[in-house]
Symmetry: C2
Subunit: 105 residues, 2 copies
């Protein structure tokens, strides 16, 4: 299994090691998870660009270091709402967010 596929399954809340269920990812579900991964990648990229650590980002967006780590990992417990709000608070433009939404991760 390649690295990206593994990431996607984990983002979907699956233990990788599970055998079956591969085909239960509908197109809509797959696209949704992929969007989340792209947004998470952008969040990390934006943070690094700004030379901030996760604790500083947490302060800016009103959250905690651990949640920022989970955002960047596209953890199943983080919503797209939270990712978008965080990106915007870090200064991303709507077009940037749209770029991630459209981009195949």
């Amino acid at each position: 299994m390649d690295k990206k596929t593994k990431k996607k399954l984990e983002a979907a809340g699956w233990e990788v090691g599970d055998a079956q269920n591969f085909l239960e990812l509908s197109d809509a579900e797959a696209a949704f998870i992929d969007m989340k991964l792209a947004l998470a990648e952008d969040l990390r990229a934006l943070r690094l660009e700004r030379r901030l650590n996760q604790t500083q980002v947490a302060r800016i967006v009103g959250s905690s270091q651990s949640r920022v780590a989970k955002m960047e990992a596209a953890d199943p417990s983080v919503s797209i709402d939270l990712l978008i709000k965080s990106l915007l608070k870090l200064g991303a433009a709507r077009e940037d967010v749209a770029g991630a939404v459209a981009r195949q991760s």
Copy 2:
């Protein structure tokens, strides 16, 4: 107050008629609400394009008529996650979703 401004405030969970707090909408908050409105508009547009009623959409996306109505109204109780999932299940492409995200509502 124009119609769009009123809609935005309501989407943010405010009673229009409230006097103050006008300036507490940060840029990030305003952009977020606007995205939600754009997604909601697209959901309704897509439904009408497909000539479906809200009950049919509810069946397709796995929800209820009342929630679909709230989605289309960009009700404060609906998340962007739900809007995006619903759009995708109705057959929208990622680019379509990205279009709404970028579009000033």
